[in-house]
């Protein structure tokens, strides 16, 4: 587990910004300590225990060359390459972002990030980016990154968060979308223990779409706070988990959302698809808040889980907090096993059992991949999912259990 104080002393000289302020923030965070399971938003994710697991295996980088992606590559927190493109302005990382609230057990991880952030991409987008912008995180050392992404009014971009770091990382995204701006954030985590937090604000007519694919790593905590601030703002958050591994090496994927409809005529659409084998655990906590004047809000939330072993676990907790009376809000949750009738149907059409299972798992996760509009990127993600299913197929057949 990370000794934050020692880590701070070690990297202190390399950190930009106000060292004193950082030290004070860290001391305040340390006084609160890591969130325990008694904190509601961390109830299903025992952070201290999960951070005790060692580094995960090194994985192969996703190849984004077919989509001519721009790349910002952070290796152990050090920026290796800085992307350049029309409509993209990168400014050097100057230390911490806006000062966080005083630490409480709920937000203490943001305070750790505030104190220890050693780097991050500060990008402003005006206009339309012709190619996806990839933020790649690799290496094995503990790392704190703070990214700030702003899209000016009418700007359009596709951002890819390619996480392949094998150790601990605490990554904050601060995303602001101006009027009519459109951002797609594609996230892939293949390794490591990541505590991720994103804050997203949407102005009028802005569109945000996040599509996450967790195919490895022992901890993938992705917390998102989305604020829809003006009419016609639309947010979509879709996640897919291909969880596997036994005991300490098992995937633990936690998507925790707070989606706040602050204005009338805003909409959100959330879906979570979990395939869980071995001792993998999936967590979904989704809270939709509709403020009193936010009439005609349309908010939909769906959780689905396919359990492939006795030892896997899924916890789904959708919550609606509605203060307006003219809204359409719905949530649904379904947890089941691989459909035996579907398996028989496919085998009766000539597919052997392994191929039939592969097809059913891939089809299940395709319901997330299908939200990626860029064809090149969706093909890349399909390839990643297919390769992962292939390596896991032995486990699928055995139905590994605890």
């Amino acid at each position: 587990m990370l000794d934050a104080q020692a880590h701070f002393e070690q990297i202190r000289d390399t950190l930009p910004g106000d060292g004193q302020a950082r030290a004070a923030t860290l001391a305040a965070a340390e006084a609160v300590g890591l969130p325990t399971r008694r904190v509601e938003s961390w109830h299903y994710t025992d952070l201290a225990r999960l951070l005790k697991s060692g580094e995960t295996a090194v994985v192969r980088a996703v190849d984004f060359s077919s989509v001519e992606a721009l790349e910002a590559h952070f290796e152990n927190g050090v920026l290796q390459s800085e992307p350049q493109a029309d409509g993209l302005q990168i400014t050097p990382f100057l230390g911490t972002l806006a000062s966080p609230d005083a630490p409480s057990p709920d937000n203490v991880m943001a305070n750790y990030n505030h104190a220890l952030a050693q780097n991050g991409l500060t990008a402003e987008v005006s206009g339309t980016l012709a190619h996806p912008l990839v933020i790649r995180t690799s290496g094995s050392e503990p790392v704190h990154l703070a990214h700030k992404i702003s899209l000016a009014a009418g700007a359009k971009a596709v951002l890819v968060d390619d996480h392949m770091a094998t150790g601990y990382s605490n990554v904050v995204f601060d995303i602001t979308l101006g009027e009519g701006a459109e951002l797609t954030l594609l996230r892939s985590q293949q390794a490591g223990h990541q505590v991720g937090l994103s804050h997203v604000t949407l102005e009028q007519d802005a569109k945000y779409k996040s599509v996450a694919m967790i195919s490895g790593g022992t901890l993938a905590r992705h917390e998102a706070h989305v604020s829809l601030k003006a009419a016609q703002a639309h947010a979509e958050l879709h996640s897919a988990v291909l969880g596997h591994g036994l005991s300490k090496a098992a995937t633990h994927a936690d998507f925790t959302y707070v989606i706040e409809h602050q204005a009338a005529d805003t909409s959100s659409h959330t879906s979570a698809y979990n395939v869980l084998d071995g001792n993998a655990r999936g967590v979904f906590q989704g809270k939709i808040i509709v403020r009193p004047d936010a009439q005609r809000v349309d908010a939909q939330m769906q959780t689905r889980a396919m359990m492939l072993s006795e030892g896997a676990e899924m916890d789904a907790k959708p919550e609606l907090e509605i203060y307006a009376d003219d809204v359409v809000c719905a949530h649904g949750s379904a947890i089941g096993e691989l459909d035996r009738d579907a398996l028989f149907f496919l085998r009766s059409r000539g597919l052997d059992e392994a191929s039939a299972r592969h097809l059913l798992v891939a089809a299940f996760l395709e319901q997330v991949t299908t939200h990626i509009d860029d064809e090149g990127l969706s093909e890349i993600m399909r390839g990643l999912v297919d390769a992962k299913i292939n390596t896991l197929l032995g486990n699928f057949n055995g139905g590994a259990s605890a």
């Binding site: 579907a342 149907f345 085998r347 000539g350 597919l351 395709e366 319901q367």
Partner: protein, 262 residues
């Protein structure tokens, strides 16, 4: 002539519950056999036992497909050997397009027979030709498998799979259920187009109506897990008038009723 399918004294069911009780049936290439019978007589169980659905056990007798014992084969091996079941309730599989599914299925069967995969262009041509012949527009190939399909579209899709896979023996399990008369005609035309001297068919139905469109060579009446009577197409018309009462007997007779008004 050697039989395509030869079932002798078959006993089968779910775990300890016997459903098929000493059934014998023989189908030659080129023949269309119909099995009719009241609900609960074991018609659908027969189709599942023949195609190898898990949970169904064979407890005695034999079912030879071109001389090979089906009970010893996996469901996919039966498909590769040329057996096809058109499902009574076709499944919806979101996340896979009809086209991808058809291609995966066709190539799995070709590989199982030691043949090369069909190249993409030939496959596309074949799929379009077969689906248009069934009155399906190209859009149905691009849609997710059976998702949002009407009852008639799902059944047509089953027949499309049959047309693509060209089985030696096709079992149609209550293909008429849930179809209006127009959909029934389209599906029946699709089935009739596949009739050939090499191909056998086993049409399972509760009603005579389907047999107006798919003319059988032999009609069997099934009750309590056995074939209790066999005859020509006229037997179906007879059943239409008299119902299944005489084959069910006892207290069941009243509830079994006439198939025409069930």
């Amino acid at each position: 002539m050697s039989s395509l399918l030869d079932i002798k004294d078959l006993h089968a069911g779910i775990t300890d519950k016997p459903i098929i009780n000493g059934l014998s049936l023989s189908i030659n290439p080129g023949e269309v056999h119909a099995i009719m019978g009241p609900n609960g007589s074991g018609k659908s169980t027969l189709s599942y036992v023949l195609s190898g659905k898990s949970g169904y056990e064979v407890n005695g007798g034999e079912m030879l497909f071109e001389g090979q014992e089906l009970a010893e084969m996996t469901p996919e091996a039966r498909a590769i050997a040329g057996l096809f079941l058109a499902f009574q309730y076709p499944l919806e599989i979101p996340g896979v397009t009809n086209m991808t599914f058809l291609k995966t299925s066709l190539n799995a069967i070709r590989r199982g027979r030691g043949e090369e995969d069909m190249d993409a262009a030939s496959f596309l041509r074949l799929a379009r030709e077969k689906s248009r012949a069934l009155g399906m527009d190209d859009d149905m190939l691009r849609r997710q498998l059976n998702v949002g399909f009407s009852g008639g579209e799902k059944k047509r899709n089953e027949i499309l799979q049959m047309a693509m896979l060209e089985p030696k023996l096709a079992i149609l399990d209550e293909t008429d259920s849930g179809l209006d008369i127009d959909a029934l005609k389209t599906v029946a035309e699709g089935v009739n187009a596949l009739r050939s001297p090499e191909r056998g068919m086993l049409v399972i139905t509760h009603y005579q109506r389907l047999l107006d469109f798919i003319k059988p060579d032999v009609v069997h009446v099934m009750a309590k897990g056995q074939i209790v009577k066999s005859g020509g197409p006229e037997l179906a018309l007879e059943l239409e008038k008299s119902g299944y009462a005489e084959y069910v007997g006892g207290a069941d007779a009243a509830s079994a009723g006439s198939p025409a008004h069930a």
